[in-house]
Symmetry: C2
Subunit: 515 residues, 2 copies
């Protein structure tokens, strides 16, 4: 505890004793009231009556963080660009509660269920924080009996992981999902999701990428053809999913030692998962001796062929790679799966950041049915954009001085060089606010001119209105351009008009500048 | 469980037995694989392998709700208007985690602490969901050692209350806060908060309102002057706060029976709290025999006088009412307090909704200090807009048919009357998306013309591109205006240009329409 606090507490005790003494002595009300006032003033200094001295380390919970204004500006800019793409494709917006009945989440995430944040049982329902936005969407569709929906949902999700926060991974993080639900023709909504991913990544302009695609039915067929027992398909799939982080040898060892796959089967899988290409690969595999005998594999390959054809029509083929090593971790996918990966490290200051996967998704036709008593299916396909990694890259660029952001939008600062101009400044602020001009002023009665101009420069405010006695007497005020330092006197009566002209000119210039 | 599901499970068991039998009999790999494929197909029908039949009632947690696209459109429109006002005043945006260390929230909310949602102890830190955005702001300021900040924060907060959901009160609800932190001159930031409230309510255009103001120091002084013991100021204040819902007689009874105030003191309080007015009332009370002897009361009254003077200068006096019955529930206020109340019921269909309080706030100079080891103070003043009530009113209006909302922004629907035009439609969609035109099409291969046009009408899509074989052969496509049903043939090569012209014309018209 700080010394000043101790001293204050002593004073309060002393003063309290004094008041009690006066009351006991039945002193005059006036005298008592005077001392009570002093006691109150002391208590006000101390803070709230139940204010205890801070005894714990002040921090946000593990794996979480505050977003300061610069980070929020970056975040809002990124999300705005993404939302614009989602809206261009006709997506509607929904939101769901941050927590769900625990039962809604149970049995949806396999091994990762241990990462779910549970709420304390405080009497009532057993709740848990959402782990993603996909299961809540499925619950929403089942609950509201909606059969068709193209929606986006941008919200925070929660995982009790041990994340590498330096790489933009947190326990509380944003997901940014676009999904199409409904019974439609094969691959038509699926390819639109791929198109959306390319538009988002192009809009964000974060470098070259490849959009890997594969098909769960093909993976199933491939495992079948390689002699993996049916009950080990999902766990083998999870192991294949690690190929983007581990070399094949390690993945092979895990398959054999942990998943109980025979070395022969593992080696056969190894042959397939090194393959990638385009439609010609799909055609080749349709003639593969083993795969062609698996109904699942043929279904998957036919799906991939159709998807690649549609990619061609939409003009995104140059960004697509059919890749048999792509598996995706989650259990619930049933058809096409995809993942966008940046193919170049991103330059940040003098260093290079390797980002890797930046968006992913796939088809999940059975998830809604899990919530329906009659198992009624609503087929879905969707994509989730890894915005946290994008935020993280941009924040690094900001820290390295590669980019700068403006955290407010103020166009005009109302200043005065002289004392006793607060009320005049207020009048002008009110006038400008009422005219819709983004305006601020100092909250001090007599701020220094230097501080006021410094505030404008630090905050990128382009214009200042400067009030002075001599000008006001002549019915004039000065407008100062903060960048050029040019000042011009204009009639007080025309101020709004004059400022609007200058703001419009500035905005046009800014747009010219950034083209 | 549905019967079909049972039948399916039986079939899977049967097929599994068959596969095992074939394997045991060492049948040919081909034969075994064929049967395994069938087994896989059956399992795919069943859904995910761990899919259990739904056994619980499908719902969102008590006191929470999903927002559907219509509700989200309303919500986003309201928030956009509010954010525009906050930005006009130079506010920056921050965000904090949805949960805090439990210790951060402890001792901040008085009796209401029982409403905090705790997270389960899963090993690690003890966490709780945020109860408001004010305490997280104070924690943020103390932690980041920031002395000045004008910020807005719009996010959900959590209270285990038993809310009347029909009146727009939930356990999970949005708060929409604007606060100014920093050591400034008296009432200068405070009056800007009042100005912000008036601008927000005017922008939302939800009817006449009055902005009640009072001062915690005046309340303290008033309690003192009426003979309330110092240690009962806060609890008496909580009781006075109920005056907007209860008649004076009941409040008086609570004071006497529950808070231990003498009947005389209660009656004296009763005399004061019925007073309201403007600057003349403040002057009158400064000459009040009892109040003028209380240092606290005089401080509060001087503050109110200054505030009312500034309100005059900002041109908002006609909306302000100095009201001695305004107390505000929370403990942490230390200076001016205020609350905006709608003075007229809102017409919804044939009924009238009484909304009451719609925004409130005040000065809290000691909250940040509670988080600082050295009790360093950062004075703050702020306002919270009751957006949930506003959402609730607008949703009622929507339900009553008083307003309508469009949940998507699509300008062009690409349709075809003939079969086998999917790929042609896709090509055109890609072209329009690449040109930045908000476009959609049916995800079906051969949708019916009627269904396509119906979709446009239901979703307010203004234009359709209609593809036909005979037109395409001549290098033409049709553009249809959905409202007027006019159709026009344009060259396929000029389509983007032609659509952009029409979209711009529509937008101009829409703006004209709403002015």
């Amino acid at each position: 505890m700080a010394e000043s606090q101790d001293v204050l507490l002593d004073k309060i005790k002393e003063q309290g004793d004094l008041v009690r003494k006066l009351k006991a002595a039945k002193e005059s009300t006036e005298k008592i009231q005077e001392e009570v006032s002093k006691l109150l003033a002391l208590k006000a200094q101390l803070g709230s009556e139940d204010s205890a001295p801070q005894k714990f380390v002040l921090k946000t919970p593990k794996g979480t963080r505050d977003y300061n204004p610069q980070q929020m500006t970056i975040r809002n800019n990124v999300l705005q660009k993404i939302i614009a793409v989602f809206k261009k494709h006709g997506a509607e917006c929904i939101d769901t509660p941050v927590f769900e009945l625990k039962e809604v989440l149970t049995g949806k995430y396999g091994e990762d269920s241990k990462l779910i944040y549970d709420l304390k049982d405080q009497g009532g329902e057993i709740l848990a924080l959402r782990y993603d936005l996909t299961v809540p969407l499925a619950r929403y569709l089942a609950m509201s009996k909606i059969n068709n929906l193209k929606r986006y949902h941008i919200a925070k999700v929660y995982r009790r992981d041990n994340p590498a926060m330096t790489r933009g991974r947190y326990r509380e993080f944003y997901q940014c999902d676009f999904d199409i639900a409904g019974q439609y023709d094969p691959m038509v909504p699926d390819v639109e999701c791929l198109k959306v991913v390319t538009e988002v990544l192009d809009a964000l302009d974060i470098g070259k990428y490849v959009l890997k695609v594969n098909h769960r039915r093909l993976l199933d067929g491939m495992f079948e053809a390689c002699g993996v027992p049916v009950d080990k398909f999902r766990s083998t799939c999870s192991t294949v999913d690690k190929l983007d982080k581990l070399p094949w040898e390690e993945v092979r060892t895990e398959m054999i030692n942990e998943k109980g796959i025979s070395p022969d089967a593992a080696d056969r899988i190894g042959e397939y998962v090194r393959l990638n290409g385009g439609a010609e690969l799909a055609n080749k595999l349709l003639n593969d001796e083993k795969l062609s005998k698996s109904k699942a594999a043929v279904e998957g390959l036919e799906g991939i062929k159709l998807l690649l054809n549609y990619c061609d029509i939409l003009g995104i083929s140059d960004k697509i790679l059919f890749d048999l090593s792509l598996a995706r971790g989650l259990d619930y996918y049933t058809g096409v799966i995809y993942e966008a990966v940046l193919t170049q490290p991103i330059k940040v200051g003098n260093e290079e950041l390797t980002v890797g996967s930046i968006a992913g998704g796939g088809r999940y036709d059975n998830l809604v049915g899990m919530f329906d008593a009659k198992n009624k299916q609503v087929p879905c396909v969707g994509v989730s954009v890894g915005v946290e990694r994008i935020f993280s890259v941009l924040e690094s660029k900001l820290a390295a001085g590669d980019i700068s952001v403006r955290t407010n939008e103020i166009d005009v600062y109302v200043a005065s060089a002289q004392k006793n101009f607060l009320e005049e400044r207020m009048k002008i602020c009110a006038e400008l606010w009422n005219a819709g001009i983004k305006t601020e002023q100092s909250y001090k009665k007599n701020p220094k001119m230097l501080n006021q101009l410094q505030h404008c420069e630090e905050n990128g405010i382009p214009l200042a209105v400067i009030l002075g006695e001599s000008e006001l007497k002549r019915g004039l005020v000065k407008i100062r351009n903060i960048t050029t330092r040019e000042e011009q006197e204009v009639p007080r009566a025309n101020l709004v008009e004059e400022l609007k002209t200058r703001i419009n000119a500035l905005n046009v210039k800014e747009i010219n500048g950034s083209l």
